[in-house]
Amino acid sequence: MAEAAAHRSHPTPAMYWGIALFLGVVTAIEIAVPSISALDPIKVPLLWMLAAVKFFTVVGFFMHLRYEKRLYKTLFLFGVFGVFPLFIVVLLSMDAL
Amino acid sequence: MLRFANFSDYDAARQGTLRVIATVKPFQRNNNSSSAPRSLRVVALVAVLAIGLAACSGSGPQTALNPEGPVARTINDLWKLVFVMATVVFVIVQAAIIYAIVRFRARKGDDTEPVQLHGNTRLEIMWTIIPVVILAAIAYPIVKGIFDVRAVADGPEALQVQVTGHQWWWEFEYIDLVGEDGRTLVTANELYIPEDTDVNLIMTSADVIHSFWIPVLAGKRDVVPNRVTNLRIHADDATPADEPHPGQCAEYCGLAHADMRFKVHVRTAADFDTWVEGQLTPAAVPTEGTAADGFEAFNTCVACHNATVAGPDGVEDIGPVPTIQVDGVTFTSSLAPNLAHFGSRGTFGAGTFENNREHLAQWLANPSNLKPMRPELNNIAEGRILGMPNFNLSDEDIDSLITLLEGWK
């Protein structure tokens, strides 16, 4: 069964702790970024990037999307990647970016 | 081979017991019994054609098809181009439909089956690409048209007019036309512009979204609270005094949206100057006769209406002149139309009623009877005005007020 196949490479609890540690570290970096003035010029893209890393780590491992059927990925990623262009255009057209 | 379903079949089907049901070729059966209302078909088709033909002609004073200035003309030229394109597509597609249903209709007695064609990739790619090509061909004129029409008339010779939309009337302030007393020219519902001159309208709204539209001169542009929008208009020729171009609020703005109209008078340069001079002259304060009584009664009105008058104490505004700031631009945003030169207007109630004694009497007797409004929700302190209230004026007051207002040319 597809389900069983997916479970083969499933992470173990130890790995979950590791991922959580990673997430914690990234969060610490995030919090530090605004206070490092040297990073000011790239602050905005950097923070977005770090958020994206956390986002997809949780989605991929905790939500197992990495291991899931293509169908689920498609359904969800439509939403995730759909929302960006739409609202970037909205904000651009309202001179808010 | 052909078997008609009958009632027992149907019953059986309902019981769920009938597992095999005859196929009926219904078009053959029904063609025999069909009694199509033939004359009705003819009527329907002829009517469609007739209306289609009539669609091609512009008529009436508010038409977009007979432009009276370059902005509207640019739009109209583009429209004609695209309309022709659309008509060609229309004719081709409808012809194909009609051909298909005539040529390939099932004929009586022909029992053969058609070839089971599943498609033709080359053909399908072709009719994907052809529309792309047609659309690409009109893309350039469209984009050019957008930039042409939206060019802001900010040259030095352009007339600058600030427009404030109100529920449900228009206020115009000519910011470059300043009287001796330092006041700008403010008027309502009737816009005067010189012929063959670019006019830059700088617009905002005091309450909800409106849209400023004079079809013969230009397309519409919305008038949005908290935002400044621009519209360029330009009229070729002066209009006769009693035939101004009609305009209309085109964005639904509540109760009296339909009656939020206005007029655009186009004047020769000289006539325009005369008009400006008249408007910049303060109204006289009458000292005797009915008009003086009217001025007395006018005390009620100045809670909302302003008029710049030259009285014994010199030139003064007798009503409120509030302003609003939007994006760094200051707009006069009165509570009600400025009445200092009311007598010079051809219409009132936002371009809806002819300005004559009879109509005015009706207006003053009960404004909401003439034009739907919600004065019961007014809050003068907060500047929220939704119409003119009924003051239960006496007949004499009405009469004297009319005399006063009609005298203020």
């Binding site: - | 329907a44 008529s59 498609g119 079809p215 949206h257 739907p372």
Partner: protein, 628 residues
């Protein structure tokens, strides 16, 4: 009258009003959607007739401005959200499982819940007429007009009513998506799904992704009205509402038309006796329309003050939708080409659809030409455009579907003579009503105006339009009569009256509760057709030798009496919790309209819905646990 069919459904099925209230059968739910939508169509149509009466003469006095504004708002809102969308849902409910060879939708009780929530929200919206006034801000409720008059509850009804309808729709769409992607019969690959069901999938995606945006806008409107927030007034920007609304509103118009396009894609092959020309193209163009539909929302805002660059971009993107739409049109014509076209009623309406939709589509392209739209926007030209696509397209398509599938619902044909009168009167009346609006719009008549001056020269065409609208009215009275009458007295149709191509025609009419005695194994697009016909060397269809007197139907194989007691035949048991939960939520809605006084009602509603939800989740379900 559709409700009465209870007795005619398969005998095993329980009858009586209670069985309808607790039903979780997708077919019954579909019929209820259809019936509700039909009633709503008559209500909204009546509103339209009043509008037309008022506009017959210059300075008309039939209605007050206040009444007029409520009527056109409710007419638009009802037609779109309560008539056409649910009619689509009706067909989807009934035919998605039949088309993919399933016994029901994925979540039967959630499906029932969607229907009840839809029904109650509809009742709520309509009740506003007598409870303080109906919404009067136009169907797109532009802020800040819609947030302006807190004194009236009218736009609160709009904010809450539309929100609840949206929730119902999101649930239904998630249900359909789950159904199609996980419950297809063996062999039913995605590229073998009937086009109607494909379009249903596209529509469901559109709704899933667009309704939440509308929902946020509606919350903001509601908060602005009741809690003093400043989303659209104060420091807020009114254009935010327009963006949020049209991000939903434009995909919504394709939500309204795609199911109709799906229906005619089913009808053309059957009545041309040829397969759909270019099935993959038709499917992919539908998907393309769905995608592109998300990228063009600002074409409703050309005059609102976007920059010229944005306008140009949106203008060109909008025009491009003509391409995939054209593909569909040409493929339909291609389907007829070389076929044997028979003018049965469904086919007449389908041909009407194509012909009229092209007119509406082309006027849409004329709108997309930005400078032209500066003139056309908010004029009757727009009104003409969207009635051509919505009525000429949508309504013609759905009516075609009704004539096509009525035999499946009831086992009987709709009367052909009445149907012909319906068709020709509707065609005549429709064009008389809406073609003149092109002329009126180009001649400057603004929409949403309750009166106009006699000096503007608009009277004649308005009169033509009014006469036309009554002709439409009469045609629909005939239709209603036909629906009622044929239900008992129509010609019996049998299971496969049109010599159909798709699976629903392989089962009896009306279908048994469990749809398929045995889940079919699918090998082709138009699988049922391929069981009946082979092709000869020229590619002509040849009827296969009759197996047993008539056609081969899926049931032939089993040949038993339908009393299947295998385990997998258990159907989900009826449940009244969906209606309870929906009732509770709408009670909350009523309370919200009247906050702060209404908080008590909100509380009561919350308790009722909690009861519904808990009962729902604890209730045992027959089929090995329900999926909710």
């Amino acid at each position: 009258m559709v409700l009465d069919t209870s007795k005619d459904l398969a005998p095993a099925e329980p009858t009586g009003i209670w069985s309808w209230i607790t039903t979780v059968d997708h077919k019954r739910i579909g019929l209820m959607y259809g019936f509700t939508a039909l009633v709503a169509f008559f209500v909204a149509g009546l509103e339209a007739l009043l509008i037309r009466l008022q506009l017959t003469t210059a300075n008309g006095t039939v209605l007050s401005a206040d009444a007029y504004n409520q009527l056109f708002t409710m007419h638009g809102l009802t037609m779109l959200l309560v008539v056409v969308m649910p009619v689509g849902a009706a067909f989807m409910n009934y035919f998605i499982p039949l088309h993919i060879g399933a016994r029901d939708v994925a979540f039967p009780r959630a499906n029932a819940f969607s229907y009840w929530l839809f029904l109650f929200s509809t009742v709520m919206l309509l009740s506003s007429f007598v409870l303080g006034g109906a919404p009067d801000g136009g169907w797109f409720g532009y802020a800040p007009l819609s947030t302006q008059l807190e004194e009236y509850v009218r736009m609160d009804y709009y904010a809450i009513g539309a929100q609840l309808l949206g929730i119902a729709s999101i649930m239904a769409s998630a249900n359909f998506i789950a159904t199609v992607f996980t419950m297809r019969a063996p062999g039913m690959t995605l590229m073998r799904i009937p086009v109607f069901t494909w379009m249903a999938v596209v529509v469901s995606f559109l709704l899933i992704f667009s309704l939440p945006i509308f929902g946020v806008g509606l919350f903001q409107m509601f908060f602005d009205r009741n809690f003093g927030t400043q989303f659209f007034s104060g420091g807020g920007d009114p254009l935010l509402w327009q963006h949020l609304f049209w991000l939903f509103g434009h995909p919504e118009v394709y939500v309204l038309i795609l199911p109709a396009m799906g229906i005619v894609s089913e009808i053309f092959p059957v009545f041309s006796r040829k397969p759909l020309f270019g099935y993959p193209f038709v499917v992919f163009s539908g998907i393309a329309i769905g995608f592109m539909g998300f990228g063009v929302w600002a074409h409703h805002m050309y005059t609102a003050g976007l920059g010229p660059v944005a306008e140009a971009g949106f203008g060109l993107a909008t025009m491009m939708i003509a391409v995939p739409t054209g593909v569909k049109i040409f493929n339909w014509i291609g389907t007829m080409w070389g076929g044997k076209v028979s003018f049965e009623l469904p086919m007449l309406f389908a041909i009407g659809f194509v012909s009229l939709f092209v007119i509406g589509g082309l006027s849409g392209v004329l709108h997309s030409v930005v400078p032209s739209d500066y003139q056309q926007h908010d004029s009757y030209f727009v009104v003409a455009h969207f009635h051509y696509v919505l009525f000429g397209g949508g309504v013609f398509g759905y009516v075609a579907g009704a004539y096509y599938w009525y035999p499946k619902w009831t086992g009987r044909f709709l009367d052909k003579k009445l149907g012909l009168w319906h068709f020709w009167l509707m065609l005549l009346g429709f064009n008389m009503t809406f073609a003149p609006m092109h002329i009126l719009g180009l001649n400057g008549m603004p929409r949403r105006t309750y009166r106009y001056g006699e000096d503007l020269g608009w009277e004649f065409w308005n009169q033509v339009a009014t006469v036309g609208s009554f002709i439409i009215g009469i045609s629909f009275l005939l239709f209603a009569w036909n629906l009622i009458r044929s239900h008992k007295r129509g010609l019996p149709a049998g299971s496969d009256p049109w010599d159909g191509r798709t699976l629903e025609w392989s089962i009896s009419s009306p279908p048994p509760v469990h749809n398929f005695d045995e889940i079919p194994v699918v090998e082709h697009v138009d699988d049922f057709w391929h069981r009946k016909y082979a092709t000869d060397d020229d590619g002509r269809a040849v009827r296969m030798p009759d197996v047993s007197g008539g056609t081969i139907s899926a049931e032939t194989a089993t040949g038993d009496d339908g009393s299947h007691e295998e385990e997998d035949m258990h159907m989900p048991s009826p449940s009244y919790y969906p209606i309870v939960a929906a009732g509770g939520i709408v009670t909350m809605g009523y309370g919200l309209v009247y906050v702060p006084g209404g908080w008590v009602v909100v509380g009561i509603g919350a308790l009722i819905s909690l009861w519904g939800v808990f009962g729902w989740s604890l209730e045992p379900v027959t089929r090995g646990g329900d999926h909710e």
